[in-house]
């Protein structure tokens, strides 16, 4: 039984890492209805910029963080200006496609600027079992996972406060609710979108740092986005809470499946298991856990 809980907790903590990426998707989808496939590329770009700046200019953590954040904000603002603004009122599939193009662009750009090497990223957190838990409960829980979970928790809390309390946050929620109505009460849609993309860039940076520290900063980081998609559909595209809870569920299921289902059929199910799990769940609740139930009118 201890083993089961060990796997479960490990899974939940891994799920938090998925949530980190999924959050970026949710923010943009909520505010602009764009399913931003470039989020994975943004995670990669952010992490690579951070490491690149550190390597090239020998900056310490916070200056490098600031530079990377600046780059992400610039990217967000430019995306809004150049890519999204001309495409206002286009069908969602067109916007989706444009973000795939954007993903290619960002991936290429990041590697053109910083090269294709794999960079190690050291945040000073060791990926090793916490001894207190190992002694008292006989469970192996990684310190790194715990820190990652903490970071995600803080991030969600900050976002929640930002959305609930600040003026910009209220404007963001208004835009998410209804573009037209928000426009008509005088909320500048363009500014809001630029802000949302910047915030998503910030989330991408945090996610990139955590994932980069775990796996090294390399091109494979872009595939992290694919891991976040089942989380999204499980939690509902437009719900921050859904991203977190979905991430926990997917993470736990995936780890449990890897331990209990994978060995009998000898392997490799992690590539699709999360998708099938999310798919089966969707058959019961087509709008995800926290998605808005659609009411159809003719």
């Amino acid at each position: 039984m201890t083993f089961f809980f060990e796997v479960l907790i490990g899974g939940l903590l891994a799920g938090v890492m998925y949530s980190l990426v999924a959050l970026g998707f949710v923010l943009i989808y909520k505010a602009s209805g764009v399913f931003n496939f470039a989020q994975g590329a943004m995670v990669f770009f952010a992490a690579l910029t951070f490491v690149g700046v550190q390597e090239q200019f020998g900056l310490s953590f916070w200056p490098a963080f600031a530079v990377a954040l600046g780059a992400m904000v610039l990217l967000g603002v430019l995306t809004e200006k150049i890519v999204l603004r001309p495409l206002v009122n286009q069908p969602q599939i067109t916007l989706f496609m444009v973000t795939i193009g954007l993903a290619f662009f960002i991936e290429g750009l990041a590697q053109l600027v910083w090269g294709t090497n794999v960079y190690p990223l050291n945040l000073g957190i060791r990926d090793e079992p916490i001894e207190a838990i190992l002694e008292n409960f006989d469970m192996v829980i990684s310190r790194f996972d715990l820190v990652a979970a903490l970071v995600a928790g803080v991030l969600v809390a900050v976002l929640a406060v930002f959305f609930q309390v600040t003026k910009i946050g209220r404007a963001l929620r208004a835009v998410a609710d209804d573009h037209q109505a928000a426009l008509s009460v005088g909320i500048p849609l363009k500014t809001i979108w630029a802000i949302v993309w910047s915030v998503a860039g910030f989330v991408a940076l945090v996610a990139g740092l955590m994932w980069g520290a775990r796996n090294g900063v390399q091109f494979a980081l872009t595939f992290v986005a694919l891991k976040a998609l089942p989380v999204l559909i499980l939690g509902g595209f437009a719900s921050v809470l859904g991203a977190v809870v979905g991430g926990l569920i997917i993470g736990a299921l995936e780890k449990l499946a890897a331990v209990y289902i994978d060995p009998p059929i000898r392997g490799g199910i992690e590539s699709w298991f999360a998708y099938v799990a999310a798919l089966l769940f969707l058959l019961v609740r087509p709008e995800g856990l926290f998605g808005e139930r659609r009411i159809d009118r003719v």
């Binding site: 890519v83 989706f96 795939i100 193009g101 290429g108 590697q111 998708y275 709008e287 159809d296 003719v298």
Partner: protein
């Protein structure tokens, strides 16, 4: 002046409903077909046939399949490559395990197998919509190649899952040279394109469009949504399956399941978006664009580098390609969100008045 329908009167319903009601279109199509069937084999080099024209045709077919599903029935799918994989492996296994089965028959059977798989993975579409469905189709994209690798029976127990296709032989005639393969693919694509063109203006095609535009309204006027959606998945997968079989048999010769990855699915999705969603012509235009663009970029960047006496590292060229490719996609979508087919339509409108506009 040249492209005008004035004076072409229609005196029967059959004429009115012809595929190409305007004479210029009809003759244009005949000329195009003549060039494709006679001119190209006579003059095109082997490089053009094998590296550009055959993949272009194969991808057109896959794009056609996806366009039926996404463009006409409105169900966004990211699993195209998986259905192509089903087609390729099904055709291989039919040829392998049923001695003496004509290759065209096994292609059709492969298409039917793909259609069945398509229906299975289309079932969620009855409950799920939009991007939720798109992500759900990713399940097919990851599951099917995994299964094909996992169960080595599919690849006849080859160690790496790679299959090498049998030679294509129809009635004792072996399609082995690039020209012959090209002609075979061209013929199949023409037949299927004609079928698709007619299908989308039949009652089921109209039902698809009704479902796409508003499914509740479609249901209210008596369209059976379940049937329409599942048929769309079946037909689309059938096309993709045959495209996959041709991809393996006529283009690459040997394929592995991992070759049918998400990238390929996205490429085909790009084709229909760039070409035009909900347009048969658009599938071809998009396929041509996406097939030729990387080759063109490659040549351009390499030659451009030579021109300025730069020696670019190999990595830089491929990265620059990625940037330009992504940039062009964005550019095209901004300039013409409705795709190349729409540009062609606009050109026709203009031609109709040329050289004397109002």
């Amino acid at each position: 002046m040249l492209y005008r329908e004035a004076g072409q009167f229609k005196s029967s319903y059959a004429e009115d409903q012809a595929l190409f009601p305007i004479r210029q279109d009809r003759y244009g199509m005949l000329v195009l077909l003549a060039i494709a069937f006679v001119g190209v084999p006579l003059f095109a080099s082997d490089y053009w046939l094998t590296a550009i024209l055959v993949p272009f045709l194969v991808f057109s077919l896959a794009a056609l399949g996806l366009n039926i599903l996404t463009g006409y029935a409105g169900q966004l799918s990211l699993g195209t490559a998986a259905f192509m994989a089903v087609g390729a492996f099904a055709a291989y296994n039919f040829e392998l395990r049923v001695p003496g089965l004509p290759v065209l028959v096994s292609f059709v059977l492969a298409g039917l197998v793909a259609a069945l798989v398509g229906i299975a993975f289309g079932l969620p579409s009855l409950r799920i919509r939009g991007f939720y469905l798109a992500v759900a189709t990713l399940a097919a994209q990851f599951f099917i190649p995994w299964l094909l690798v996992k169960v080595s029976w599919f690849s006849n127990y080859s160690a790496s899952g790679v299959i090498t296709t049998q030679p294509i032989e129809i009635l004792g005639f072996v399609f082995d040279s690039p020209t012959r393969k090209y002609l075979l693919v061209l013929a199949i694509v023409c037949v299927l394109a004609l079928a698709a063109k007619n299908l989308v203006r039949s009652s089921i095609g109209r039902a698809w469009m009704a479902v796409r535009d508003m499914d509740v309204a479609a249901e209210v006027i008596g369209i059976r949504i379940v049937r329409a959606k599942l048929i769309a998945f079946a037909v689309s997968s059938f096309y993709c399956g045959i495209a996959g079989a041709l991809y393996a048999y006529a283009y690459l010769g040997s394929v592995e399941p991992d070759g049918f990855n998400l990238d390929l699915s996205f490429r085909i999705l790009f084709m229909i978006i760039i070409g035009g969603v909900g347009s048969i012509l658009g599938s071809f235009l998009g396929a041509a664009f996406i097939t030729v663009l990387p080759i063109f970029l490659d040549v351009l960047l390499t030659d451009g580098a030579h021109l300025f006496n730069l020696s670019l590292p190999a990595g830089v060229t491929s990265m620059a390609q990625l940037v330009v490719f992504g940039g062009l996609i964005i550019f095209f979508l901004i300039v013409e969100p409705h795709g190349l087919a729409r540009l062609w339509q606009i050109a026709k409108e203009k031609l109709r008045l040329w050289p004397f506009p109002h």
